[in-house]
Structures are given as C-alpha cells and as structure tokens.
Amino acid sequence: MHDLEAAELTIVKGAHLVLRDASLQVGCGSLTALTGPSGSGKTSLLRVLAFIDLPTSGVVRLWGKEPSREDDPPTIDSGPIYPLVMYVPQTLALWPHLTIHDNLSFAHNSRFRYDSELVTTSHDLEIDDLLARRPAHLSQGQRQRAALARALVLRPKILLLDEVTSALDDRLANKVWGILREFAKSGAAVLASTHDSSLAEQCDNIYCIRDNMLASRQLCCQEGH
C-alpha cells in the first residue's frame, strides 16, 4: 500500500485536456520527482493530489483509502486530511501581512514564540535571520525557503511541492533537496515537481508528463526526459 496513490486520473479544464489516465504511487519514505515542460499539467496534477481541485475522473487514495469529500476539508478515518497532506504552491502564497516567523507559527499554531522545531527548520533552510521580515522584503529564493519551512514545521505525512527550488542557486537547491530526502526518510511521502534534471535524478522515482500523459522513470528514460 502506498501513502499516495492516483488511479486513472483525467483532468480537463474547460475544453482543454490537461492529463489523461494518469496513475502514480508515492510510498512512505520516498522522494519522488515530477517533471515535464511548462504548461504540461504538473500544477494541475499536484492540486488534484492535494484535494484542492477535483479530477474529471479517476481516484486519489491516501494510505489505501479514498477520503470523503462530503466534509470540508475532506476527511479520512473521520479526521481532516490537512495538514497530514501538505501542498506548497508555485506561487508560494506566503501571507503578506505576516512576518516570516508569523507565517510559520500561524500555520503551526504554536503557543510558544520560539518553538524548537520552527527554530531548527528555519536554521536548516537558512532563513533564521529573515524571520522578522515580511515576504515582500525577501527575494524569490528566500520566499521559496520560507514557504517550504512553513510546510515542514507541520510535519505532514504527504508533502506535495510545486517548483520550490526554481529560484535557488545550486548549493541551496541541493541542500533543500537533501532536507526533503531526510524528511521523506523520517516517514513521509514527498512528491516534488522540478525542471532541474540533476535534482530529479537524486530522487527515488521520477514521473514525467508529456503530451497529456504521465509516465514513470523507465518510460521517461526511454524517451530521453
């Protein structure tokens, strides 16, 4: 049983076919890459896997079960899926009126100003000297690390990331990827979209989207992706 499983997902937006009959599995302890050209449907797929958008057809299962959409947010075993499932969008969506510290602690619902996990995560991602600033005063790379920190402090079981290293230099991108690998090893399933093939190659598995189809690592290699 995989932590995250999608079966025969089809996503249509308006009159536009985004993805057809896509199936993927992401297991506990694994870091999986999702690649594909711009506009291929990576964000649409991640949003469906995060239960933000509905697929046109197909099913998404968490830990072998299909969450109930009767409630908002969707529930599994009578509990909400969030923040067990966590999604970091490409736009990052940091709350602009809050400092970075408040962005992290608000999501974490921390009672203590200096929660040790928050401190550790921000140190690992090299944003500990940025905590007092607002998102507008950070570079794109700093914002990406802050958005990632906000997700990590929640300790999700399934982490979905949309291009969170696109604005980072090689050193930081590799460092972040290392953090994600460690996070996956601690018992999470991580699926991250990226354009960087060198980062994708470091993952346990790769899925690529091309021509509205999702293919796994072997097919990606055959087709030279």
Binding site: Y82, P83, A93, F106
Partner: protein, 218 residues
C-alpha cells in the same frame, strides 16, 4: 478678489461659519460612526450568512445607487414622514440618509475586499489545517482591511461632501450658513470661494492619503 478679502469675510462671520461647521461635523460624525460600525458589522455577518444577509444588502445597495441622493432626501423628508404620520427634525432625516448611504458604501467596499482576497492565500491556510473561522479573522479580514483602507477613507470624505444636501431641507450646516452670510453681505464670490477652499483644504489631503494607502497596502 484676494485671499485677504476672503479671510476678512470669514473672520467677520466666524460665528455663523463655526455654527454651520459644528452642525456639519455633527451630521458627519453620526454618519461616519454609525455607517462604519453598521457597514462593517453587516459585512462581517455576511461572511457567515451570505444569502440571508448578502442578497438583500446587495439589492438595497443597487436600488440606492439608482436613485439620486436629492430624490432620496426629499422622499425621506416628505412622503415617508407623511405616510408614517411623524415629523422628524431635518437634521436627523439628513443624518439618517447619510448613515444609510455610508453603511451601504462601507458594506460594499468591505465585502468586495473580503471576497477578493487572493484564493491561494485562503487555500494554503486550509491546507495548513487552519479552521475557517481563524482563516477569516487572521487572513481574510486583515488583508481586506489593508486593501479597503484607501477606499474607506475616500468614502468618508464623500460623506462630508454629501452633507451639504442637508441645506435643501433647512439643516443649518456649513453650506446653508454660507447661504445666509451671502444673503446678509452680498459677497457671493468671497463666501463661496471660501467654502470651496474649506473643502479643498480638508478633502484634498484626505483623498491624497486615500490614494497613497491604496497604492501601499493593496
């Protein structure tokens, strides 16, 4: 006409001007306070009862937008009082109208700002496991207030400008006071120029501030 002559006329009739200004400020104070509290409260309540409260408020707002303020004022002052069999002081009729209009305006500005909160900011809060109530009070409302502050400031300036309509039903506010001064002194140019200068001195900085707030906080 020189500025010194305008100032001379104002100083000679300062008691009348101050009396008119006091009534204007009282009118506006009522409309500002009740309008902001009323419009703000209804905007918040609409978040939890969008159909029950939102639909009627939108309908009333549309009707009020369609009717010129002068028509509304005269309708409140004459037909409605005859139908109800009451006689209400024109000051309170004008205050009621300005309050209703300000309530509708504040409601509209706040609701638009709340509804236009970027969806992704609310989505990511949901995905972080934050409950709806907390999302509203900590994300949607603060962002809405930031983006609405400029428009809210401009709308309160508009209340001040609309207050002069009270003069048409004998409210002794600043414009009516100016009319009385003109009737006594025949100095139309100085009096009405002075009145225009008053509104420029008060309203222009506030409108500039509103514009600045809108640019900085949106």
């Amino acid at each position: 006409m020189t500025i010194s002559r305008i100032i001379k006329v104002i100083l000679e009739n300062r008691q009348a001007y101050l009396a008119g200004l006091a009534v204007t400020l009282k009118l506006c104070g009522v409309a500002w306070a009740l309008g902001m509290i009323g419009g703000g409260s209804i905007a918040l309540a609409t978040e939890w009862r969008p159909r029950l409260i939102g639909l009627p408020m939108t309908a009333i707002g549309r009707i009020a937008e369609a009717v010129p303020i002068l028509v509304l004022l005269f309708w409140l002052h004459y037909p409605i009082q005859v139908m109800l069999g009451v006689v209400i002081d024109p000051f309170w009729t004008t205050a009621a109208l300005l309050t209703i209009l300000n309530t509708l305006t504040v409601y509209g500005i706040l609701r638009r700002a709340i509804v236009n909160t970027p969806a992704e900011l609310v989505e990511v809060a949901r995905v972080c496991g934050v409950i709806r109530r907390r999302i509203f009070w900590r994300i949607k409302l603060p962002l809405a207030l930031r983006s609405a502050l400029g428009s809210l400031t401009s709308s309160q300036v508009t209340v001040l400008q609309l207050s002069i309509f009270g003069s048409l039903i004998s409210v002794e506010e600043l414009f009516r006071a100016s009319q009385r001064i003109v009737a006594q002194t025949y100095k139309l140019v100085e009096v009405y120029t002075g009145l225009a200068l008053f509104f420029i001195i008060v309203c222009l900085p506030l409108n500039l501030l509103a514009g600045r707030l809108e640019r900085r906080l949106s």
